[in-house]
Amino acid sequence: MTRNVLIGCMVFMVLLQGTSALAEDTKMRRNKLMWESMSPEEKNRVIQNYREWKSSPPQKREKVRRNYDAFSDLSAEERQKLRERYRNYKSLEPGRREKVRERLNRIDSLPPESRVEIERKYMRVREQSAHERMKRLQDSRFWNNLSAEEKEIFKKLIIPDN
């Protein structure tokens, strides 16, 4: 029995290593093709990003890598929603974006038990349709405390495809 488990673990590890090596190779090939097909302007933009990337602290690079992996794990629909939200977020004037960030930072300052509770609620909301989420949003105290213009901004950010 123990021997079978050991063999199973060994097979799994070998398979895992082989798969990750192949995935890495595929990613490199895809990136190389993408790089070769880029226009000189795009290449310059990427080179500029690369310089900033190299000069940024390792923690930030690690965070960005982690976020990339988390994004890759999402469904196509969720990825699309986040892309759309990013476009809306980026289009905000710097002052407004700062205010949104300020509100988001309030979440970080919540006690751990409240964050757990929010996470629990979020898991339920995730399964809801855009219409149901919109209704829930409109019933929330958060929404009722916003001005008309704030509502427009948050509507675009929270339900970008609505």
């Binding site: 690369y50 929010i118 829930r136």
Partner: protein
Amino acid sequence: MGCQKIQEMLPAYQDGALNGSEVKDIEEHLLVCKSCRNMNRALKEAWDALEIWDDVDVPERSRKTIVSRLPEQRKMYWAKIVLPVAAALVIVFGITLKFSWMKSERQMQMPVPAPAQLSAEQPDIDEDDLIANLHILQDEEFYDSLEELVKIDYLPLVEEPKQEETDKERSSLDVPLT
């Protein structure tokens, strides 16, 4: 139909598995051929003898011996399946590794014109590193703000302070959102 063919068909004949014309052929042949008739009788007697035998219980000792050997057999069965699969995977992995190693060796030996050109133009750029991280670099700002973008979903779920407190707080903010 010759004797050899008839004798081959006798078991099926006794089982009633033949069609009408085959049965007729055999029966006509049995009437005129003594050796086939004898063979048919012997076969019938053998089947009849099997039917009168009673089932005999396996002696307890033999049963125990057989059962005690079963786990060994099962282990051998697993070893027969798992070991070849594991060996095949190790070989595949080895070939992949060797292939990757040969490829990297070749890349190290062969001059690659594009990176040399880019490095010559911009010595601070390591093109291989750039390409390895291209999927992130292309959209770095997006991935950097991903946590904030996800967190927006949580905003309506956060219990806001009461209306009066919010108004008080809002009046104290230097930069209004509106």
